[in-house]
């Protein structure tokens, strides 16, 4: 039987939708059972699979020439929402925007990236990305209470639980965040929710650093190409009191700026106190959006001129300069991640035990693992 025939029953027309890469085999499992079977088969046939969520950030990490593309688009069901417990359990292919819209009806939020586009819950978790509100609510990893992973060799594994506090066993849910599929496909997750503040405002200020020092635990302070905005949330009295101290232009609600786009997209990560210094070191012509007090800077440029020096500096601070998107040639000129972190042997050993045939996103992580 040909490999295509083996997978025939999982090929769905829905896969043919948007912007997918060239790949002979494209499947979209409709259930987690199907996903298990697909990965088991992929292991048996030693295939390299790329997992496709919203496809918004496939540019991060090592390039893969896949034999198989597994789209999570059909795994998009709501499994369980307990508004009074502030937890929600969803399948990984659900779009972040759909989830947040649903939660907003009951005044709740999952506090994931603010302008998610087509991004899915699984993709956001796998890529370990957080929204700017992490300044106040912590990163995405602090939101994941339970995870169902399908390992590279097709075993469904659950860890954590649907409660907001839990130390039963090793913390696989947090480990899955930022794993880029290396342990398996994130099939389902339970997230901790937050109440939406009753009052929300955005204040444009002249000096972001000063605002950060003035505001008491703001939701976020984001500077985009020199223009700083402070995001506040809370009770009306609290927000009003804070606004007064900030002395800026106020608009109601949280109005997020789109991130900069360009030929090359970057993620620069430095200790929070080095954020200003990082902005000052951006090569000329780079556009940026920086989370003040967080140390995360998204940047865009026309080429990689000056990136090597910037990366060396960021790494010397304990940070990193990561390629988020760019032309294929860039990835052969420059490691997408930079110097691999310590503990690579441990990472390899771990991956080996979850994905022994190295099926899912092989080579995407730092160090080419």
């Amino acid at each position: 039987m040909t490999i295509a025939a083996v997978f025939a029953s999982y090929v769905r027309p829905a896969v043919a939708d948007s912007g997918l890469p060239e790949c002979d085999l494209m499947v979209a499992p409709q259930t987690i059972d199907e996903l298990e079977h697909i990965l088991d088969l992929a292991s048996e046939h030693q295939l390299k699979a790329v997992i496709w969520g919203g496809g918004t950030h496939q540019g991060i990490g090592g390039r893969i020439d896949p034999d198989l593309l597994i789209a999570t688009s059909q795994l998009n069901r709501l499994i369980d929402w307990q508004p009074e417990d502030f937890t929600v359990t969803v399948e990984a292919g659900m779009r972040v925007s759909d989830l947040e819209e649903m939660l907003a009806d009951r005044g709740q939020m999952a506090v994931l990236p603010e302008l998610p586009g087509a991004a899915t819950i699984g993709g956001v978790m796998a890529a370990g990305v957080s929204g700017w509100r992490r300044a106040r609510y912590g990163p995405t990893r602090d939101r994941v209470l339970e995870v169902d992973l399908v390992t590279g060799d097709g075993r469904r594994v659950r860890a954590g639980g649907r409660v907001v506090k839990n130390v039963t066993g090793f913390d696989l849910p947090r480990l899955a965040v930022g794993s880029y599929g290396s342990l398996g496909v994130i099939a389902q997750a339970c997230l901790k929710l937050w109440p939406e503040p009753s009052t929300k405002v955005t204040v444009s200020v002249a000096d972001g650093d000063r605002a950060l020092a003035t505001a008491y635990r703001p939701t976020a302070v984001v500077e985009s190409d020199g223009v700083a905005k402070v995001y506040l949330g809370g009770t009306e009295a609290e927000v009003d009191g804070q606004v007064e101290a900030l002395d800026g232009t106020v608009v109601p609600g949280w109005s997020w700026e789109p991130e900069p786009t360009g030929v090359v997209g970057w993620s620069l990560r430095v200790p929070p106190a080095s954020t200003r210094s990082a902005i000052e070191r951006l090569p000329s012509g780079w556009r940026y959006q920086a989370g003040l007090g967080v140390g995360e800077i998204k940047a865009a440029s026309v080429d990689a001129e000056g990136a090597a020096e910037l990366r060396a500096w960021a790494e010397s601070q304990g940070g990193a300069l990561v390629i988020v998107s760019g032309p294929a040639g860039l990835y052969s000129d420059m490691d997408p991640w930079g110097t691999p972190p310590p503990g690579l042997d441990l990472q390899r050993e771990l991956i080996r035990r979850f994905d022994p045939c190295r099926v899912v996103n092989p080579g995407r992580l730092p160090g080419g693992i």
């Binding site: 990893r141 602090d142 075993r155 039963t168 066993g169 947090r174 009770t235 990560r269 050993e349 022994p356």
Partner: protein
């Protein structure tokens, strides 16, 4: 050379304890389990820890890392004869106020860090009731919580990096000072690993700004249901207070007798609620707390007038377990979690279990996050008593899991709950946990026979590891 001879060579005779009494003292923690200690060592640097690990491994001796020994799940009590590595001498602290972080040695006492940073306006948010004794290393290993973890998150939310000594004796730094360190987030899985994945020799923790304003409210209720409904009602209205703690009447009376915190002893249950943050928020949230309490038939309500009164209320809460010593020589403190909405029904079942087994049970718990701490006071010298207590507590665990909960919210699994793990996880789940452990420590050198029940690693599951190089 003998193991002890090797250890003396590494650390000198003063930091190798091998007298019978010393070994006895290190054989247990705050829980009820006791194990056999071969020798206790007190290293002062990561490289000494590494040398100790290599020596113990050479002699085939398992290692149990240990902080202050206040853990309640038997995590620091050896399950098999072991070398105990006590980290209490590693007390370095380097504060970086610009980044609101500190590098701390594993032996630093939790409260000492907050005391040290208080005048700069910061504190270390996780505040276990044992904070004046327990170590940050123990907190990280157990992913400990505390009353104020409701709004701020448990220890894991406050750890940016950990340095560990691996089973090979390698010193590895996991995580770092910048957000989203690249590669698999091994830091997150070392937190809460109960000494099974490596010995923590240094941690980079976040410091949290002290609140501008705090209000602590003490509310009494005629029934436990009303107290719980108030706590859940507050959260359901979209307010996440700094803390929401409930005590039942038996516990309240024991505490009053012990420290005189001013708790109403006629109430069936009391709720200690704290709101903190911006003064305007505190004002509004305090009003909401009072309102929800009134809706739920509050019988007495008091707001701490000043810092002194607040400190007294918290002393009362944090002395709860100590207060039990007046009632019986021993206590067994359980730790389980249920979804907040299941609290009332679960508490009822727990009281029924206590009644059926005829044990003296007191309750104090982190109501805001559904984390229960049923406590049984008993006398272990009476034959059969401990068995009865164990039986009752196992039933409690079952009831909580049936309600959609978990086995432990903050104390860990250790020895105590190891064999209950299959209540929550199936074969494949446990096998995954065992694989994770195996990746770090294939020979099970660190804290063997803890957390994972025997037979967790299931050779029949999944594909065998291919031989030869790949990756």
């Amino acid at each position: 050379m003998t193991l002890i001879g090797d250890l003396v060579e590494i650390l000198g005779p003063d930091r190798v304890l091998s007298e019978p009494l010393e070994r006895y003292l290190y054989g247990t923690d705050g829980g009820v389990a006791r194990g056999e200690v071969i020798v206790v060592v007190l290293p002062e640097t990561a490289s000494e820890v590494s040398d100790v690990v290599i020596a113990a491994k050479r002699h085939g001796s398992p290692i149990v890392p240990r902080g202050a020994g206040t853990g309640l799940a038997g995590g620091a009590a050896p399950a098999v004869p072991s070398v105990v590595v006590s980290l209490t001498n590693m007390k370095n602290i380097e504060i970086d106020l610009g980044n609101r972080t500190a590098w701390v040695g594993p032996g630093v006492i939790n409260l000492d860090l907050s005391k040290l940073t208080r005048s700069s306006g910061f504190h270390f948010a996780p505040d276990p009731s044992s904070q004046s004794a327990c170590t940050i290393g123990g907190n990280v290993a157990n992913n400990s919580g505390g009353p104020h973890c409701l709004a701020e998150g448990t220890t894991t939310s406050h750890v940016l990096a950990v340095e560990i000594v691996t089973a090979d004796g390698e010193i590895v730094l996991l995580g770092g000072p910048a957000p989203d360190p690249i590669g698999l987030d091994l830091r997150s899985v070392v937190v809460g690993s109960e000494g099974l994945l490596g010995i923590i020799t240094r941690t980079l923790v976040k410091l949290t700004p002290n609140p501008l304003d705090v209000r602590t409210i003490l509310a009494g209720f005629a029934t436990m249901e009303d107290a719980v409904a108030t706590s859940s009602g507050i959260v359901a209205r979209g307010v996440v207070p700094a803390a929401l703690e409930i005590m039942d009447q038996k516990m309240t009376r024991a505490v009053e007798n012990f420290v005189g915190a001013g708790f109403p002893t006629d109430a069936a249950a009391i709720l200690l609620a704290e709101v903190a943050g911006h003064p305007a928020a505190v004002e509004a949230e305090a009003r909401l707390v009072e309102q929800v309490a009134n809706e739920n038939h509050v019988t007495s309500l008091r707001v701490a007038a000043d810092g002194v009164e607040r400190a007294k209320l918290w002393l009362g809460r944090k002395s709860a377990f100590g207060a039990v010593a007046q009632l019986a020589p021993d206590y067994y403190l359980h730790d389980t979690v249920v979804p907040r909405t299941q609290l009332v029904a679960t508490m009822q079942k727990i009281y029924e279990i206590a009644e059926r087994h005829d044990v003296l049970m007191l309750n104090v718990f982190h109501a805001g996050d559904g984390n229960l701490h049923p406590l049984v006071a008993f006398d272990a010298s009476v034959e059969g008593q401990l068995d009865i207590v164990h039986a009752a507590m196992e039933e409690v665990a079952r009831v909580c899991i049936e309600a959609g909960g978990a086995l432990s919210g903050e104390h860990g699994i250790g020895l105590e709950k190891r064999d209950l793990m299959p209540l929550l996880y199936n074969e494949a789940d446990l096998d995954a946990q065992a694989r994770l452990r195996e990746a770090f420590d294939p020979d099970g050198l660190f804290n063997p026979q803890k957390v994972l029940p025997a037979g967790s690693r299931c050779a029949d599951l999944g594909r065998p590891l291919p031989t030869g190089a790949w990756l």
